[in-house]
């Protein structure tokens, strides 16, 4: 399990070093970039809760190496089709690969950590 993870992260690092670093505004360690997208449908209690939960978990486990993009489908409904989004809210881990989808308000921290495949904090 661990072995495969390292292989992937190595791969992603080799790609990322050149491309993504320039874009990200925050100070990040290149090999550990977490590109997350949170799809919501308006400012519902569920989406607010999801965003708060996500922020908390990221700060706790991925401090300084994550990026969160919020996509409001109410504003860009066509994105629901392109990204195959059904459930609200949905968190998509674009990076590191593979793509993971987490649905729900992210209130179950254990599951979020498992779902995002975050290694226990050092």
């Amino acid at each position: 399990m661990k072995k495969t993870d390292t292989i992937k992260s190595v791969r992603s690092r080799s790609r990322k070093t050149t491309t993504k670093t320039a874009k990200t505004k925050k100070r990040i360690v290149p090999e550990e970039l977490w590109d997350l997208r949170l799809y919501v449908a308006g400012q519902t209690p569920k989406s607010l809760a999801a965003f708060a939960n996500l922020k908390r978990i990221c700060e706790e486990h991925l401090a300084g190496k994550y990026k969160i993009e919020i996509i409001d489908l109410m504003k860009n409904p066509q994105l629901a089709r392109g990204d195959q989004i059904l459930a609200m809210p949905t968190l998509v881990r674009k990076l590191p690969p593979p793509i993971k989808k987490l649905i729900g308000d992210l209130s179950n921290t254990e599951r979020v950590i498992v779902g995002l495949d975050i290694r226990p904090a050092r």
């Binding site: 059904l86 989808k101 649905i103 729900g104 308000d105």
Partner: protein, 582 residues
């Protein structure tokens, strides 16, 4: 939406319906699916659910100008387009004209982790944007149940689906939701609980190796509908449902008569032949000439310039043409001129419903004036007698409605001549029975009219001859104990002929004798006459002599008296000079 409500208004006050454009279904449902409401289409794998939904959209887009959205949870758009192009649907073209959207909703369970409360708002948003983009009025969700395997937490899912169906209804979309058939239940996940306006079950039965697709309207809230299981078929032009049982017995009966193609048979049927639009059954054992009678009829139909459809279940087109030529009927000329269409197929080639549907299609295409089935009994190879009978009932009703004269042949068993295997005789207006008559070491064909509704018809058995000029019916010899046919009849007729000759000779002889007698008598009369004349002559002569004698005597007397007067006076001088002659 506004367009829809307008349409709704002038259609009907109660429940307005959205025509599916699927052949037959609109008749069964009395106009289509409930407009602006969801309909559940349930069935097992390979039942045609997807096709049903797609046809609903394609016909909606093509015929009723209602754009549609197809949400597929199983196949992607490319696969769908490919699958449907084989049915002659150009989905890409409809997509390009913004009449159709194919949307593939794809969920991979392994990619998904549930981390808390969720809803399906994403799907709603997605549908909303797609609906808005083309102004969709129809939507198909195929098969939304896959969500149950893709998303955990069934409780949330159920609540969301319920919300989805309500939402669709509120939007006024006519929706089809397909669902897999469950164990004992209509659907695996009990969707019928949520979609309760209209439920249609599709089925795929295999009996005796032949598959039959069936459709049943389980429920249709607020509308009457046909409740039977209707066979339907999927062929290269899509779905057609066979709704013929919905037809009521209200066809107009024609009084027009059409020839059977055999003059002598027409004479047996009140001199005019069959009624147009009636059903005619010709039953008989093998080799009694059923097909020949059919060919005669077909020939006469074409000769009148009408179109005829010949459904052969036993022989190929060429074989029929060749065989009929041997009895002097050239039906090839009609096939060449397009008046006669021979459609030959083994009954076992496809299921009963497929046959029926094909027949329907052919009728729609050709619009024949008469249709022939040769023989209907072969259809029993495909399905049970009951089903065939049901099919024929529907078919006959349908044909009568269309005023198409139907001619059926039925292969009877020897032991049950006055009864058909399919018990369809009661459906027939005219029933002609052909039978073998075995007599004197010969087998001959006999024909009689068992029944013929609404016309005077002969009660006589006629001998049925197949000549090189076609069928000929002749009177059988009726006399003594038996009817005689074939050479026995010929012998009897010869015998009668010689007796007849003898009799007439006798008469001639008698006549001659009479003439001779008359001659003899006349001769006698002449002789008597001449004798009489001779006697008369003689008598006259005698009479003259007597008169003369008398005169002479008188003269003498006068002379005497004169002489005496001369002596007495002059008075008598006068009288003497007054009679100087004698």
């Amino acid at each position: 939406m506004s367009h829809k409500t307008k349409k709704q208004g002038h259609q009907r006050a109660q429940l307005s319906k959205s025509p599916t454009g699927i052949q037959g279904l609109d008749e069964v449902t009395g106009g289509g699916l409930p407009k602006g409401r969801p309909t559940l289409v349930a069935g097992g794998a390979g039942c045609g659910k997807t096709l049903f939904g797609m046809e609903f959209l394609v016909q909606g887009a093509r015929q009723y100008n209602e754009p549609g959205l197809f949400v597929s949870f199983e196949e992607n758009s490319r696969e769908l387009t490919k699958n449907f192009s084989s049915l002659g649907y150009d989905l890409n073209e409809l997509v390009a004209r913004k009449k159709l959207i194919l949307d593939h909703v794809y969920i991979e369970r392994s990619e998904i982790e549930v981390t808390g409360e969720y809803d399906l708002e994403g799907l709603f948003v997605r549908l909303q944007s797609l609906i808005d983009s083309i102004g969709a009025k129809r939507i198909v969700l195929d098969t939304i149940e896959t969500l149950f395997s893709a998303l955990p937490n069934e409780g949330i899912l159920r609540a969301e689906l319920r919300r989805l169906f309500r939402w669709l209804k509120a939007k006024g979309l006519t929706a089809i939701i397909t669902a897999e058939k469950g164990d004992g239940d209509l659907t695996r996940h009990g969707l019928e609980e949520y979609v309760s306006d209209c439920v249609i079950a599709l089925d795929h039965l295999v009996t005796d190796l032949v598959a039959t697709r069936r459709m049943r309207i389980v429920k249709y809230r607020g509308s009457s509908h046909g409740t039977n299981e209707y066979p339907f078929l999927i062929d290269d032009t899509g779905i057609s449902v066979l709704p013929i049982t919905s037809v009521e017995l209200r066809h107009a009966a024609s009084t027009e008569r059409i020839s059977s193609g055999i003059t002598t048979l027409d004479a047996m049927l009140g001199g005019k032949g069959y009624y147009r639009g009636s059903s005619i059954l010709v039953s008989g054992t093998a080799g009694t000439g059923k097909t020949s009678m059919a060919a005669h009829f077909a020939d006469s139909v074409c000769r009148r310039g009408e179109r005829c459809l010949y459904l052969a279940f036993e022989e190929s087109e060429n074989q029929i043409i060749r065989n009929m030529r041997s009895i002097g009927i050239d039906i090839e000329q009609w096939t060449r001129r397009g008046r006669l269409t021979i459609h030959a197929a083994r009954p076992t080639m496809y299921g009963l419903e497929m046959h029926l549907a094909r027949i329907h299609r052919l009728i729609e295409d050709i619009k024949p004036h008469a249709i022939l089935f040769d023989p209907i009994t072969n259809l029993m190879a495909v399905a049970g007698a009951n089903e065939v009978k049901a099919m024929l009932t529907r078919l006959i009703d349908y044909l009568k409605l269309k005023k198409i004269t139907a001619f059926f042949t039925n292969l009877s068993q020897q032991h049950m001549l006055e009864q058909t295997d399919l018990a369809v005789s009661s459906l027939m207006d005219t029933w002609i029975s052909l039978r073998d008559i075995e007599l004197g070491g010969e087998r001959n064909r006999g024909l009689y009219v068992l029944k013929s509704r609404g016309m005077e018809h002969s009660n006589q058995i006629r001998e049925f001859l197949l000549t090189d000029k076609g069928i000929d019916l002749i009177d059988v010899y009726k006399g003594g104990e038996n009817v005689l046919t074939g050479s026995a009849r010929a012998a009897q007729e010869a015998r009668e002929l010689s007796e007849e000759t003898l009799r007439s000779e006798e008469i001639e002889r008698k006549k001659r004798e009479l003439a001779r007698k008359r001659q003899a008598i006349e001769a006698q009369v002449a002789a008597l006459q001449s004798q009489y004349e001779a006697e008369e002559e003689e008598l006259n002569v005698n009479l003259g002599e007597l008169k003369l004698k008398k005169q002479v005597v008188q003269e003498d007397q006068k002379k005497m008296s004169l002489r005496r007067e001369h002596d007495a006076g002059a008075r008598t001088n006068k009288s003497r000079s007054g009679r100087p002659v004698k």
